[in-house]
Amino acid sequence: MGFGVRINQFKEGDTLEKVLDIKQLSKKYGKKTALEGITFSVPEGTCFGLLGPNGAGKSTTMKILTGIVEADQGTAIILGMNSNENRLAIKQQVGYVPQSITLYEDLNAYDNLLFFGQMYGVKGSQLKERITRVLIQTGLLDRAKDKVKEYSGGMKRRINIAAALLHDPKILILDEPTVGIDPQSRNHIFDMIRSLKEEGVTIIYSTHYMEEVEALCDEIAIIDNGKIIIQGNLKELLEQHSDKSIFIDTDQIEILKQLPNVNKVSSKDDGWMIESDQPIALLQDILATCTEQGIEIRELEMMRPTLESVFLSLTGTSLRD
């Protein structure tokens, strides 16, 4: 396996441009194609969002990256190691948080963490220290001796994540880690992820919630029907692929349609959506016109570009469909 040799490739202080580089990865379950030649890469120290609807192939991608599933074709280079040849070494540097809560409900949180830490080969005082650290990170130190079955869904999710952190992974892969939890727990998880990112851990975050990707991720890839539709920097993608627009609720839309820089006007909810290449200039014109002519404005808002609109423009369907 050459485990030791590979590990030596990454010395303290080394920097990598890409911690993950996958090329033409394909996977079929029987006759059903789960992944069809997907290619993307993840820069070190970023939070990378893999966004797509349910059944798009996100979980299969995550499972291939963590060595749970073997790809039929393609290569995955993780931390400079080929995933097919260095599975054990990769597992020791990658933390995986599955979509389902996989904890022993009859054991307490401490025993669960002790177990997972030992599964990653951590032991002794080092393990105890790390358990205490992750319990602090999750905010559950005072509940450590309670059985997991007595926890709320959000608390279980936090311990589920903590179980993947005990071996100090360089990459943390999270597969829909916030499914079915309350906003408070979600915020706690977001804080944990931001904190890990600050510590230099590369995060790969799979979700079908656009808001989560927008809140957490720097880089994203959008996956649909087993194919990567687009990949890149979140801000750049939003800039490139979403229409800039202004929302206005007024009865005098016909007058505003005549203003310069108006590309398209369409109705939305109780008002109108005005698309424009120069939204700031248009906003100023709208305000001036309405003041001069005494037009009543009930609501006026500069619309932020969203991933929903990016997904819509690329696939023609809504992400939530």
């Binding site: 499972k63 963590t66 060595g67 979509q99 389902s100 996989t102 054991l107 599964m119």
Partner: protein, 381 residues
Amino acid sequence: MMLMSIISKELKIILREKGNFFFLIVMPIFFIVLFGSIFSNTNSSFNVPYIDLDQSDSSKAFLSQLNGIDGFELEKVANEQNHIDQIEAGNSSSLLVIQEDFEETIASGIAKARLKFYQDPTATQVVAPINAVLENIANAYREQKLSSAMRQLGLTDTETESILMPPINIEEINTSSTQVDAITQFVPGYTVMFVFFIMITMVRRFFKEKESGMLSRMQSTPVKPIVYLIGMWIPALISVLIQCTVLLAFGRIVYSLDLGNLLAISIIVICLAICSTGLGLALAVCVTGENQGLALTQVFTMGGAVLAGLWFPFELLPSFAQTIGQFTPQYWAQTGLQDVMVRGALAGDVWQGLLVLLGYGALGILIALSRFKQYIRSAIN
């Protein structure tokens, strides 16, 4: 390290599950106590309802003789016809009536004294022993009569005894060092039977690991599949060892069961544990659903218990059932335990049984190993 951690975790889960405690310890103790109490109760006796119409010294002497026999108790009845009606209705099985001329007829020595014995022909198990005892008493009266006639003819006591001496003498010799009783049948019997219920525990645990996604998650850790499998197996093995220790100790403490050579018993228990958990391992990774596993375990444990003679002595089974029973691991475990407990056997004396148990265990482990990759794949997909 990883192996010890899996074992420790699994033991905690198995020991905390109340269902396991119930199936592996409480249920067998309940059955041992229940059947032990029923079948080891030697106070059971046959009731002999009677009416003495003669009320003479001879009739009283006859009844006193009958009452003096162990296992028979006289029950005076008031009305003959009423009791006959009871027999016909199936509420009583017999009635002995001593006729009014009983003493007179015996004294005359010419005619036979009459006893009426009403009986329910369907209750042969109860009636037959009473019939046999009455025949014996009648024979004793005849011997007495013969003896007195021979003496009157001038024969000496020795000559009379010699003539009346039965030509065949049956000598009863117990070959076992300890008596085989209900306890030496049921304690090892129910221990062996319920040991195989560990298969249910194993099926449940494996399915829980699979369905919760834990088995899949384990694949993302550096743990090797073989380490995981051994880690899941050993706690079941330890559970069976604890179970056998508790049940046999219960028999020893509560019923003063003679366990025989403890080393031999321990070796049989270890082989039995390997056998039951090896088969449990195979079952857990082969069945497609938890219910299927539970059903197969029930068939195996119940069917095996009957065919292996765990519920009643193996010798009472029909010959075809005995032939099939010898292929069950339960038979070899029960025979081995009873050989050590009752017949004073040592481990070397029961080597065939030990080999059979280990063979079954090894077969189960080999099947589990060959199917485990497929099992993991089914858990991941």
